[in-house]
């Protein structure tokens, strides 16, 4: 029964801060995904939890133990590496059982545990092979098996699917979800792929520049992104972000003008005033064809996906928006078009990029 707690965790490499004060609470059994662009610190954070990187400041607790100074092997964690890091000269059987062998586990106990793990991952027929004889997906299973067999409190995954081809990635995603369900274990998963994050996570931690941008369930992040970064990161295609200005403030309602259109929003708790610069966010899927719609412009890109159509429209004020419309509409490049949206699907971000509740 082990949750994980990070308190004011800092990491400096020389003088350069890489992780700048992370606070996190992870419950036992949660599937948490660290997601963010390259260099945001997600892998570093994972490795600090694993014990492969020193912690410059703050504390990390696993269960109720502070593990800052504890050796990786004694932390109760197991890790699946991006490149799998299988021992090339050992068979799958020996790879999976290496940790147990080092711990002095008796041979029969070891054998049973290895075979159990192999059964869970459906790789019993691979036990005598060497890593070089395995496919990418099979190697990944071995890497996971090596982690399972140690029965850790926390599983750590460092971009495990990034070396697989697209089809295999989808299959393995489902396997990982099933694994999580079967083992009921705490899992921390690092990826740069927001689709993986959305589909696997109970809780997503979005990181950028060593700072946590937002923590929440996938739908929380989708429906109420805390700032511009999260808004642009979660959801594909990217949310349309349009610059605007507050033109009127009346009784907790704001009139925002952006380019050639304006919109009234309920913002009872905002502290915005006249002439404040803001950003409006509208997801491409929230736009609809509307002959009288406020967003008018010319189509300059059309992509037919079969179930939906993606178009890019150049608005009269020069800004560019993306819309995803259902079905297989026909749009000519260069034709004019007008799009509308429901007011409830508009996101508002203040001057500092933070979300304003509407």
């Amino acid at each position: 029964m082990a949750g994980l707690t990070l308190r004011s965790v800092y990491k400096n490499y020389g003088d350069v801060p890489v992780i700048k004060g992370v606070d996190l609470d992870i419950q036992h059994g949660e599937f948490v995904v660290f997601v963010g662009p390259s260099g945001c610190g997600k892998s570093t954070l994972l490795r600090m939890i694993a014990g492969l990187e020193d912690i410059s400041g703050g504390e990390v607790r696993i269960g109720d133990r502070i593990v800052n100074e504890v050796e990786p092997r004694d932390r109760g964690v197991a890790m699946v590496f991006q490149s799998y890091a299988l021992y090339p000269h050992m068979t799958v059987y020996d790879n999976v059982g290496f940790g147990l062998k080092l711990a002095g586990t008796p041979k029969d106990v070891r054998d049973r545990k290895i075979r159990d793990a192999a059964k869970v991952l459906q790789m019993e027929h691979l036990l005598d092979r060497r890593p070089v004889q395995l496919s990418g997906g099979q190697r990944q299973r071995v890497a996971i098996g090596r982690a399972i067999v140690r029965q850790p409190d926390v599983f750590l995954f460092d971009e495990p699917l990034s070396n697989l081809d697209a089809a295999l990635r989808v299959d393995m995603r489902m396997e990982l979800a099933r694994l999580h369900h079967d083992l009921e274990a705490t899992m921390i998963y690092v990826t740069h792929d927001q689709v993986e994050a959305m589909t696997l996570a109970d809780k997503i931690v979005v990181l950028n520049g060593g700072v946590v941008q937002q923590v929440g369930s996938p739908l929380d992040l989708y429906n109420a992104p805390a700032n511009l970064f999260v808004a642009g990161f979660i959801g594909s295609p990217k949310m349309n972000l349009l610059a605007g200005q507050v033109e009127q403030v009346t009784d907790g309602r704001l009139r925002i003008v952006s380019g050639a259109f304006s919109v009234w929003l309920d913002a009872p708790t905002s502290d915005l005033s006249l002439r404040d610069q803001v950003t409006l966010g509208i997801r491409p899927h929230a736009l609809t064809l509307d002959a009288n719609g406020p967003l008018a412009g010319t189509v300059h890109l059309v992509e037919q996906l079969g179930n939906e159509t993606v178009i890019r429209v150049l608005l009269s004020d020069g800004s560019d928006i993306t819309a995803v419309l259902a079905g297989q509409g026909s749009f000519d490049v260069g034709s004019t078009i007008a799009l509308g949206f429901g007011d409830e699907s508009v996101h508002l971000f203040g001057r500092d990029g933070r979300r304003v509740a509407v």
Partner: protein
């Protein structure tokens, strides 16, 4: 803008692997424990003697009795004494044979035979060409001593092609002894250089040659503009290995000419041995040894610099 497994477009920089060691004191101690045995052996039998060499070089000592401080006199002797200068010169002359012949011939042969080294023929070639590298240098010395003898193969061949007037006792000849020793070294190193260069050539992208041919290049151009630059590293290796062999030569000279006639084939390696153990001039021998070491470094450094990997 199709739906891709999206991520914010960032640089494709892999996750930074911060410092491999844990930096803790325990890790450093472990590192030292691993390195210590090698370091100890190295220090005890290389660095300490090197230091001793430097000390001896400042002394006047016969190895048994008292030593007197001699300052830099030994070095001055090394750099001004006619005989010693000739000895050093001999070593550099050997470089002509040990290095220039194997590298030049090796280049020529390698260019001509690229593509012929596959299969069993290639294996046989490799095996035979490497034989000189596998035997002791002194065995090569004895083999060639016999070849160069008055009734040896060299003279026999000369007589056979009608050049009887050219026959002589090569290794005892004042003019030809050093070149003869050079030939021995060239023979020892030729196979290695050729094989190194051949392997290097196979690494050159064949489409470069095709492109050149389309551009109208003749074989000489191909050699100069594709083969030579492509072999930069291998040539550097050949030069380094052969130059060190020439400057530090001992075995071959000891066994074939003992440095004679006179000092015409004496090389610094041999002279150090003689000075220290026959003439009992330990100080001078050590100074010569240090000078030899410096000469090797000075000669190799430009080669390494010129042919370094410019990736």
């Amino acid at each position: 803008m199709t739906e891709t497994p999206s991520s914010v477009p960032g640089t494709s920089k892999p996750t930074r692997r911060l410092s491999p060691s844990r930096g803790s004191r325990k890790a450093t101690v472990t590192a030292w424990l691993f390195i210590a045995p090698a370091a100890l052996a190295y220090a005890a039998f290389v660095l300490v003697p090197l230091g001793m060499s430097i000390c001896y070089s400042l002394l006047r000592w016969d190895g048994i009795g008292k030593a007197t401080f001699h300052g830099l006199t030994n070095y001055i002797t090394v750099l001004t004494d006619a005989d010693l200068l000739q000895i050093i010169g001999n070593a550099f002359q050997l470089v002509l044979y040990f290095t220039v012949i194997p590298v030049a011939l090796g280049l020529a042969v390698a260019s001509a035979i690229r593509g012929q080294m596959a299969g069993r023929f290639g294996t046989a070639t490799r095996t035979i060409l490497f034989l000189p590298q596998v035997i002791p240098l002194v065995a090569a010395g004895i083999a060639w001593s016999w070849m160069f003898a008055s009734t040896g193969l060299v003279n026999q061949t000369l007589k056979a092609i009608g050049l009887s007037s050219w026959t002589r006792g090569w290794l005892g000849d004042f003019v030809w002894a050093l070149p003869a020793v050079g030939i021995i070294g060239a023979w020892v190193l030729l196979g290695l250089c050729t094989m190194l260069l051949v392997t290097g050539i196979t690494k050159i992208d064949p489409s470069l040659y095709e492109a050149a041919r389309l551009d109208g290049a003749r074989p000489w151009h191909e050699f100069r503009y594709i083969t030579l630059p492509g072999l930069r590293q291998e040539i550097g290796v050949c030069i380094t290995v052969t130059v060190i062999a020439a400057l530090a030569s001992f075995d071959i000279v000891y066994i074939s000419t003992q440095g004679g006639p006179g000092i015409n084939t004496t090389v610094p390696g041999l002279e150090i041995y003689r000075l220290a153990f026959a003439h009992r001039q330990v100080g001078l021998a050590s100074a010569l040894a240090i000078v030899l070491m410096v000469l090797v470094l000075l000669t190799i450094a430009p080669v390494q610099w010129f042919t370094r990997d410019k990736k």
